[in-house]
């Protein structure tokens, strides 16, 4: 049983999309995540922000086991992350991830990037995988680039391909790690538009971003991290208009200065 600030009724772990309970992580002697507790309900959109080095990326990378936590429990869609490879595979089949630097496979075409996992992981016939990939490429509005290589696309287009690629295995949870921070300003909007559209479809989203406009339109909850801890979490309205903690206020004043 766990508590959720947004949710008065206690629930079973398996009813949540993600449960993190007393999670600790160290990089060597460095304590990156300190006693994190987080329950994400199904379909919830969460925006995570905080200063550089506060452990935001590490937090969401623990959810699909790109990083291993050392203490505490992480339960994703009812599956606990342990050293059991079957559990890890199961979690990864349900969690999609979009990276800051896209991480597309440069030696494969856009279409091949999208069909790789369905064909090799889900053992789907090639024609079916291509059909699904084209559907998602249309959703991110670049079906006409399907036969190009990633190196031939702009940053915004590459990031949209990356989103389509992770959607192709039909995840229930999407993780975004600063998806727009490597993009030129004029391309940020095209990526955010796709993400806003995606948010309207009931998928659970955890998004590390400093795009406060996006947080206001999409997020159910904004989480502020600093020094490996969750300092404050609230609805976007409350979070931006009425921050509680001094560090939150300082952080908000810093990022809002620019915009």
């Amino acid at each position: 049983m766990s508590e959720n600030p947004n949710d008065s009724q206690p629930r079973e772990d398996s009813e949540y999309a993600v449960v993190m309970r007393n999670v600790h992580k160290w990089f060597g002697p460095f304590h990156v995540l300190k006693n994190l507790n987080l329950n994400v309900t199904r379909g919830e959109k969460i925006v995570i922000c905080g200063p550089s080095g506060s452990g935001k990326s590490t937090l969401i990378r623990c959810i699909n086991r790109l990083e291993e936590h050392q203490e505490g429990d992480i339960i994703v869609d009812g599956t606990e992350l342990t050293n059991d490879l079957k559990h890890i595979d199961k979690v990864r089949s349900e969690v999609g991830m979009v990276f800051q630097h896209f991480n597309l496979f440069p030696h494969l075409t856009v279409l091949e990037n999208c069909t790789l996992a369905p064909i090799w992981v889900k053992k789907m016939p090639k024609a079916e995988a291509e059909e699904i990939a084209m559907k998602y490429l249309e959703r991110v509005k670049i079906p006409e680039q399907a036969h190009k290589y990633p190196g031939q696309l702009s940053g915004g287009q590459q990031q949209r391909v990356a989103i389509a690629r992770s959607l192709c295995k039909r995840p229930r949870i999407m993780l975004f790690d600063e998806p727009t921070s490597a993009l030129d300003p004029e391309m940020i909007k095209e990526v955010l538009d796709v993400m806003v559209e995606l948010a309207g479809e009931g998928i659970t989203m955890l998004c590390v971003t400093h795009e406060m406009g996006f947080a206001k339109t999409v997020a159910d909850r904004v989480i502020f991290m600093d020094g490996g801890e969750i300092i404050e979490q609230n609805s976007p309205q409350e979070f931006f208009d009425n921050p509680q903690h001094d560090r939150t206020k300082l952080f908000l004043s810093q990022i809002l200065d620019h915009t």
């Binding site: 790109l66 990864r92 290589y149 295995k169």
Partner: protein, 369 residues
């Protein structure tokens, strides 16, 4: 000529003036662009003029192509005595392979060329099936050359000449690449035991000259192996040459693996791929692509190192050449022999080098822009 003016935004693409294109412009830009360049060009032309005609005279115009022995050659002309090479041509090609069985060597050679097509040319229709054939080719070739199952058996000590070079070279090339890939991956493994074994193997092999390994293969192994084990000398040489090339290959490929950003593996893991899948489908295709120059360099090195087997008594083309020179009929014709062998090696190695350039260019244009 009156300058034509165009409206803003409507200027068409015009051909460049003759002074920047055409052969004359090329000559000026490349051969006479500066005083140093002029001097270099003139010196080069003079050197070519001094060297080429005498060489051609010796090799072709003053050469003798027939004759019973050295003196018959010399009586005809002052140049090269190719009659010697012509007489020994079969020996150079087949070694001591029995004359009535040489068709098997020829057939194996043709099958080798066929097996290379699907490997080298990726646009081949039905390439997948071609590759299956390429994979069973070593078995077919082994059967053809060694005999058994209906063919007269031929002992490996009768192998020699260019055929021996090809047997060692092709075997080494075909096996050192996969072994090198595994070693390079093992060297980066997260399991300390695997890492230690791979590092130890690579560093040991790289720290020892190939000749030493060949000596070990030819003599010392007899002490280590149980008495009475028959373990073919050629097979031992093949193993040593392959292991030697694998160690170098591993280091070349490790360089390629290290150049692949960590994000590639993470993205592969995030979409659910297992270690072997992400290696095979994501990391290795990229790592091998950037390692092509180093890989082909190792291949060429291995191919030329096959001449070292002469030390332990196998008769590669150089060995055949040396023993032919001992024939009193043909004494003193070193130039002919070594030039002939050099041409053979040059053709093989130069083709490998050109193919690697072609492959690099092709992959380059395919993936980026």
């Amino acid at each position: 000529m009156k300058p034509i003016s165009y409206k803003i935004g409507e200027h068409p693409d015009l051909p460049p003036p003759a002074s920047v294109t055409g052969p004359l412009a090329w000559v000026r830009n490349n051969l006479f662009s500066s005083p140093t360049n002029v001097v270099m060009t003139l010196v080069s032309v003079w050197l070519l003029f001094e060297l080429i005609p005498p060489m051609l005279n010796w090799m072709l115009f003053d050469a003798a192509f027939s004759g019973e022995n050295r003196d018959a050659c010399r009586a005809q002309a002052g140049g090269a005595c190719w009659a010697f090479i012509a007489e020994r041509f079969r020996l150079f090609t087949y070694g001591f392979y029995p004359a009535e069985e040489r068709w098997r060597v020829n057939l194996a050679f043709v099958l080798l060329l066929l097996a290379l097509v699907p490997v080298l040319y990726d646009r081949l229709p039905l390439r997948k099936y071609g590759l299956y054939y390429s994979m069973v080719f070593p078995l077919i070739a082994g059967w053809l050359l060694l005999g058994g199952w209906g063919l007269a058996p031929v002992d490996t000590d009768q192998f020699g000449g260019f055929m021996l070079t090809l047997v060692i070279g092709v075997t080494g090339i075909a096996f050192s690449l996969p072994i090198g890939i595994l070693l390079a991956m093992g060297r980066q493994s997260s399991l300390p035991v695997i890492r230690l074994v791979c590092v130890g193997f690579i560093e040991f092999i790289r720290g020892v000259p190939l000749i030493t390994l060949l000596f070990v293969a030819s003599t010392m192994l007899n002490y280590f192996l149980p008495k009475g084990t028959v373990f073919d000398l050629l097979l031992r040489v093949l193993i040593m040459v392959t292991l030697f090339a694998s160690a170098y290959m591993a280091e070349v490929i490790r360089g390629g693996l290290q150049a692949i950003p960590k994000g590639q593996v993470e993205a592969a893991e995030a979409i659910g791929m297992k270690y072997w899948q992400s290696m095979r489908l994501v990391v290795l295709p990229q790592a091998l692509k950037i390692s092509i120059p180093g890989i082909v360099n190792t291949f060429i090195g291995l191919y030329k190192d096959t001449t070292l087997v002469i030390i332990i008594g196998l008769l590669d083309p150089l060995g055949i050449g040396r023993s032919s020179l001992a024939d009193t009929k043909w004494t003193g014709l070193h130039n002919e022999v070594y030039l002939f062998v050099a041409i053979f090696f040059f053709i093989s190695c130069f083709s490998m080098s050109r193919y690697s350039l072609y492959l690099e260019k092709k992959l380059q244009t395919e993936h980026d822009h």
